[in-house]
C-alpha cells in the first residue's frame, strides 16, 4: 500500500487506520519473535533511510553511522521478542540504535556523544572548531548547501537528535520521550533549546 493511500485512508477513517497500524505492529512483533529473516530483510529495506539519517545526525560520522546501522539490526534480530507492538516500531528501532550508541560511547568516552548519556548537565555549548573537518563535514561539503549543513554540526548531538526525531521523523513528543527514555518535560526543553541553537548556528553560518 502506498504512503498516499495510507494518508487518504487515515483521513477518511481514523479508527480503521488505527486498527490497520496495530495489525501492522502485531505482524512485525510476531515476525520478530519468530526471527523471520524475510521480515527483517523487508524492515531493513523499509527503514534504511530513517535509521541511517538518525544515526548520522546522532554520531556526525558516516563510518560510525554505518557500523551502528548494522549493529542495530543485529540487536533487533536478537532482542526482537522484546518488541511488544504497543509502541510504533520506529520508536523502538530508534531507542535500540540510541542505546547502542550510548553504550559504545560510554565504553570509549567519545566526547561529543557522552552528553547523550547524561545530557542534563545543560552546559552552554561551544561551537566546534571549524578548521577541524569531520567525516560528515567532508560528506556534506560535496553538496551545494555546504554552509548551511556544516552549520548544523555546531549543534550538540542531544539537540540534533530531538530535532531530527521531531522535524524529520515527525515523531510525537511522547514517542520521542520513549526513544530517549526521558520525561516529556526534558524532551520539550531540549526541543526549545535545540530550535534556538539551530537558528543561532544557521545565522552564524550565514554571517
Amino acid at each position: 500500500m502506498s504512503a498516499q493511500a495510507l494518508t487518504l485512508m487515515a483521513a477518511r477513517s481514523p479508527l480503521l487506520f488505527a486498527g490497520l497500524m496495530t495489525d501492522d505492529r502485531q505482524t512485525i512483533a510476531l515476525g520478530l519473535r519468530r526471527r523471520d529473516p524475510d521480515l527483517l530483510d523487508q524492515l531493513i529495506e523499509q527503514y534504511q533511510q530513517r535509521l541511517y539519517r538518525y544515526l548520522l545526525f546522532l554520531t556526525g560520522n558516516p563510518a560510525l553511522a554505518e557500523d551502528f546501522f548494522q549493529e542495530t539490526w543485529i540487536r533487533i534480530l536478537e532482542r526482537g521478542d522484546q518488541y511488544n507492538a504497543k509502541s510504533k516500531f520506529e520508536s523502538w528501532l530508534f531507542a535500540i540504535a540510541r542505546n547502542l550508541v550510548i553504550d559504545a560511547s560510554r565504553r570509549k568516552k567519545f566526547a561529543s556523544l557522552e552528553a547523550l548519556a547524561d545530557p542534563e548537565t545543560q552546559q552552554p555549548y561551544e561551537p566546534p572548531d571549524l578548521h577541524s573537518t569531520s567525516a560528515l563535514q567532508m560528506l556534506l561539503a560535496r553538496e551545494n548547501q555546504q554552509a548551511v549543513q556544516v552549520s548544523l554540526l555546531k549543534i550538540p548531538a542531544y539537540y540534533r537528535e530531538v530535532l531530527v526525531l521531531r522535524f524529520h521523523e515527525e515523531l510525537g513528543l511522547e514517542e520521542i520521550a520513549a526513544v530517549l527514555a526521558a520525561p516529556l518535560s526534558t524532551v520539550k526543553s531540549r526541543l526549545y533549546r535545540g530550535l534556538a541553537a539551530l537558528k543561532s548556528a544557521l545565522s552564524e553560518g550565514a554571517a
Binding site: 557500523d67 548494522q70 539490526w73 560511547s105 565504553r107 567519545f110 530535532l163 539551530l198 537558528k199
Partner: protein, 167 residues
C-alpha cells in the same frame, strides 16, 4: 514580570512547532505576525532553519542494506544452529538424568559393595555417589559456557572495530 507582545509571539511561535497551540493563540499569532515585521522575520528565520534541517541530503551508502541483510541472515543462521545444539544438549542432559534416577539403586549397591570390599568410609562413598549424579549437570554447564565464549569471540572483532572508530 509582564510578557510583552513580542515575547508572547516568540513563545507561541516556538510552542506551535514543538507542542502545538490553541486556535485562539494561533489566530492572535497570525495577526501579530502580519503587523510586526520583526516577529515576522523571526518566524521566517525559524521556518528557514527547519527547512535547512529537513534539506540535509542523507544518502544511505549503496551496499549498506545488502551488507546488513547478509550479516543479519548469517547471525540468524548461527543463532539457529546454537539453539538446535542447545535443544540437543537439553535432551542429552534430561536423558542422562533419567538414566541416573532409574539406575540409582543399582549404582548405590555397586558403591556399597565397593566400599565394603575396599573399606572406603561411608562419607567418601556418599560424596562419590553425589558427584556421579552431578556429572551430567556439570557437563551441561561447561557446554553452555563454552558456547557463550565462542559467541563472544565471534562478535568481538566487529565490536572492536566500532570502538576503534569511536576512539
Amino acid at each position: 514580570m509582564n510578557e510583552t507582545l513580542h515575547q508572547r509571539a516568540q513563545r507561541l511561535l516556538a510552542e506551535s512547532l514543538v507542542e502545538g497551540i490553541a486556535a485562539t493563540d494561533q489566530s492572535w499569532l497570525t495577526q501579530h505576525l502580519r503587523e510586526c515585521p520583526d516577529c515576522a522575520h523571526e518566524a521566517a528565520a525559524t521556518q528557514e532553519a527547519l527547512q535547512a534541517l529537513r534539506g540535509v541530503p542523507v544518502s544511505v551508502p549503496r551496499d549498506l542494506v545488502a551488507r546488513t541483510q547478509m550479516r543479519v541472515r548469517l547471525r540468524a543462521q548461527e543463532n539457529g544452529e546454537t539453539s538446535r545444539s542447545n535443544v540437543l544438549l537439553w535432551i542429552i542432559t534430561g536423558a542422562s538424568w533419567l538414566l541416573g534416577v532409574f539406575s540409582a539403586p543399582l549404582v548405590w549397591r555397586g558403591f556399597a559393595w565397593f566400599g565394603g570390599h575396599f573399606g572406603v568410609p561411608r562419607l567418601a562413598l556418599e560424596m562419590g555417589f553425589a558427584l556421579w549424579w552431578g556429572i551430567p549437570a556439570l557437563l551441561a554447564v561447561a557446554a553452555v559456557l563454552y558456547q557463550r565464549a565462542a559467541a563472544q569471540n565471534l562478535a568481538g572483532p566487529r565490536a572492536q572495530r566500532t570502538e576503534n572508530r569511536l576512539h
